[in-house]
Amino acid sequence: MKTPLIQLDHLNAEVRLPDGDHLTTVNDVSASFERGTSTAIVGKSGSGKTSLASIIGLLNTDYTGTLSYDGRDCGAWNDANRSRFRCRHVGFVFQNYSLIPHLNAWENVGLPLQYRGGVPMRTVRRRACRMLHAVGLADRADSMPSRLSGGEQQRVAIARALVADPDLLICDEPTGALDTETGDMVAAMLFRQVREQGVTLILVTHDPQLAARCEHQLTIDRGHLS
């Protein structure tokens, strides 16, 4: 039997509220994500979808249960191991682009390669520019984020997420900050790249139309996955 890329077993997570109470954000979630598939996690605001994505993306360790990648339990990994794993295997696309404002487009795209270490700057630049070309921004490589439109910034963010050839791409509301037309264009480009690179996609969204473009859809409500 083929091992799934990601396996979640009875994951639970909660956050502490300012008044001292605890709010359960992920409630006994078990799921698996096969390599090369696309899955949408759909839910209302506050349903726990971003909390679940941050656990899957190894950004949050405050959980119980088991999270494993390729059969390896990630629970015992320390911060440095998780960082290295993220750097090599996970790409992120954030809702509000999250480009670093004082770095130009290719420098933003090249960041995961820089943190990987041992990659010469020349190679970083070449691969970043190639990725920018793939998302149609070859001529904007030296532009600062403030000079780019929202759609262009999100395309740079997608290029950054894919430049290090990750196994997993986590997109959190990738079109949430864009108008419908630009959002459609960015989504089309995102799915094309995912398809071409064979990346496992986890798409967090509350947009049913965007979710419908994924092979699988999971709905989360008050931490429960269905």
């Binding site: 971003t50 440095a80 960082s83 290295r84 750097c87 960041l111």
Partner: protein, 391 residues
Amino acid sequence: MIRIIAKDLRINPLRTGLTALSMFIGIIALIAGVLVGTLGRDYLESINARLSGKTPTYSAIVDAASLADPQATAALQQRLASFGPGVASAQYHLNDLAIWALSGDGDDASGIRHITVIVTDAARTGVMPAPIITGTWLTEAAEPATLETVVNENARQYVHDGTITLARTGNPQQVPARVNGVIADGADEPVIYVNAATLQRYWPQAWEPDGLTVLVHLSDGTDGQQTKNALNDLLFDTGIGSVSTWNRTDNADEYEQVIGFLQFGVIITAVLLLSVSAIGMINIGLAGIEQRSRELLIRRALGATRTSIAIQVIGSSVLLSLIIALATVLFSAVLVWAIPWILPVDSPLEPPAYPYTAAMVAVLASVATSLIGSLAPAIKAIRLQPALALR
């Protein structure tokens, strides 16, 4: 990583510039504190040395028995030239020695003028150093070719065609003497220095010393009492006489304390400046991390480890401090190098050596300041939870 660190310095040029300025002021203050203390000590030592002798100098008034004997004084000069405990210079008292010059009251009448005439030897500047403005000091040659003198700046007016005319009270004889040079001895009155050996040789009639003072600048580690005993032995051996009074002439002890206190004060001020700089850096650093928390979270999500975030925060601060320290050291080196050009020609000060130790301390203090100043921001940065990147 170096690229990331260097890039960090360019995020906010004003903040970087102000941090650099505070570091620059701190380092310069530390170097200047040491330099001012050194220059101040050197200056006071020089002023004191040319009036009262180098530190430490003792004056021996000799109870002389046979100063009129040229052979005895020649032997004395020879023995003093190789005096073991330090540099020794004889000063003979010839009270009737004067110069022949215009009276100066406008009637063109020439006559005896009583100004200070010091009959001494070449070793005097080894005890009481003073800058030679023009020409040379008295020669050490065993047999100088002529009666030679040196004048101070106030006695320049009596020099004509490179000579000065010596005379004696109650004696019509006028003897021309070559003027070797002009010395800035710090005296407010005209002073003529006459080479004792040449006076004995070329004007023996004038050689009627009334007394003798020997000035001794002690070598390092030499004891004053032992030196007095050695001088007594020397005077006994040459048949000159014995030491009647033995006193220290320089007053270094009095100003050493003051200079030390001033220098300590300046250094404390500099250290306080560096501390203020460190506090400022902590403040700016913490504010910077606050502003950049989103960026740092993104970096963490993209794979930056806590270590790399800490290196980024501390590294940019340390890199800045190193650049500033290097620039400050170069700047201060140029200033120190330029000091001889700034000093007047008759300054008693020797050009100061660059305070390498102070510079090294300042650079280390600067790096330490930047390390301390960036530690709190770095801790704050690595405590950011990467999970917040998705919020």
